[in-house]
Symmetry: C2
Subunit: 313 residues, 2 copies
């Protein structure tokens, strides 16, 4: 029986899962990425995860899929990664040579949202978008059931301009969706309001933690924290603008909402989000879009990587 | 030798061209659409154009392609057309039954920009966007060399929100690209400035004509007409915002710029447009996008329709 490995290579940890041919997980391995220790150590860690998963002699490895933060071209050349010291590095070739199996690598958010799509197992769906709202905002474009990656960097939904006179974004542009709707942007908004002397139940956490948990934001919001409500309303407004534009561009059958913010707050916010999207969608197009919250949580990355390799080997 | 017909069905006229297998035009026919006279008269006009093209006995008709303004689903059901009285009308089935050849129909702007793409005859290009700037703003998404139509209404580039607090758009949304960059929007801007008492060489034309020619706008711009310069700068700014977002979404290899406004002013404005786009594009992505002005003019529609049928029969 053939086996496949799905890898989720993050800035702090590498998660690997061994799957059988039917997509059932068989075993799991997790190691630190050790990104600060340089490329060779990172490669050792990746290899350790894989070796862990195949040490059982009954494993017949048939392919490796991986998601990695950053720009990935030709199915496996890491052109640039913000958190991992792999630059212009052909990870696909290295792993292919070492294990002698097909390897496909993609951008982590693209891959995770592709995993969410495939997990639905709905053959009627051909054209689907995945919007990922976490610390940053990203996404995935699925066309004819396949992950569309352009020249390697497609689906940067966080960097659509939603407010041309708006706040500056880390990417160099102005008014990007990520500057309003990411957890990072929400935090920045909360910090700016607290600096003005406004009260919030999140004040202490924001002062001690660099990055707060989505669940903490959810809690403050549901308890009626005023500035949290303002931050979330602002995020929803701009997410609606972006979703309206995306529906007008792609005329998709479904939009899947994922990422930490959506996992924590999706159920609470979904109806508001649909309402805001409809304001910016051309007449008629909303009727044929289904909205869906993601289901896989932290497993989306490895499962998407498994789907990437079995669909592209 | 097999022949194909490309039809460009517009609100005022129907243009048809008979092509040989290699895409060389053989003959041409043009009739009024007679849109105001109802669906049966319009169908008669379409049939007259086709019959005109095949009356020579040597023609071996092998397929018909057509572009039509409006929402087209399933390759030929006109769900809605703003200017032609075909609503929920299966034009594909009607023509297929009458002529017993494959028929494919698409949105006119999608089809015309697909024609521009295929005319380049560049097999290295897989992922390309066509931005159409005419009386309205539209476009085409080409993925893996094929026209992507979503559920029939994709590529509504004119209805991306580029300014969330901006002017209202005919579609019901606010701050759409079309409300800034279309010829219609440019005219509205000029009229509003003239009402304020500002001078313009376009004043007389704007007062007598409903829709002025792109070439008249080009002339006023090149002669230094102040409010025309303001209108064009505003259009370019928002086109740049939209193009930046589109590059971040699709990571395309090429952007083709077409439509009346681009045909008249493209050469003059291209470098400014690229400059503005770059302000909103993620680092690195501009390097791998080629910008190209369309070449086919009024023939884009019929040629695109021919390409649609030979690629989808």
């Amino acid at each position: 029986m053939k086996n496949y490995i799905g890898l989720d290579i993050g800035g702090t940890k590498i998660l690997g899962v061994l799957y059988d041919e039917k997509g059932n997980p068989i075993s799991k391995s997790k190691k630190k990425t050790k990104a600060s220790e340089g490329i060779e150590v990172v490669m050792e860690q990746i290899v350790k995860v894989i070796d862990d998963l195949i040490e059982d002699n009954t494993v017949e490895l048939a392919g490796i899929g991986a998601g990695i933060p950053g720009l990935v071209t030709d199915g496996g050349i890491i052109t640039f990664s913000p958190n991992i010291p792999l630059r212009d590095f052909n990870l696909r070739k290295v792993l292919n040579k070492k294990y002698d199996v097909p390897v496909v690598i993609g951008n982590d958010v693209n891959v995770a949202m592709f995993g969410e799509f495939k997990y639905l197992n709905r053959s009627d769906l051909k054209h689907v978008l995945g919007l990922f709202v976490g610390t940053g905002v990203g996404g995935a474009i699925i066309i004819d059931g396949k992950l569309y990656q352009g020249q390697g960097a497609a689906a940067e939904f966080g960097h659509m301009v939603v407010n041309s006179d708006g706040v500056f974004c880390g990417c160099g542009s102005q008014g990007c969706l990520e500057a309003y709707a990411s957890k990072w942007a929400i935090q920045e908004f909360l910090r700016s309001q607290i600096k003005k002397g406004r009260k919030s139940t999140l004040k202490d956490i924001l002062e001690t933690d660099d990055v707060i948990k989505s669940s903490a934001i959810e809690k403050a919001y549901s308890e009626g924290d005023e500035i949290t409500a303002e931050a979330i309303d602002r995020a929803i407004r701009y997410l609606g603008i972006a979703l309206g534009s995306l529906i007008n561009l792609f005329n998709p059958q479904m939009i899947i909402l994922g990422g930490g913010m959506m996992e924590s707050m999706g159920k609470t916010l979904l109806s508001k989000l649909i309402e805001e999207s409809e304001l910016h969608t051309m007449p008629g197009l909303m009727k044929t879009v289904e909205f869906k919250l993601s289901e896989l949580g932290d497993d989306a990355g490895v499962y998407g990587a498994y789907q990437l390799i079995i669909n592209n080997k």
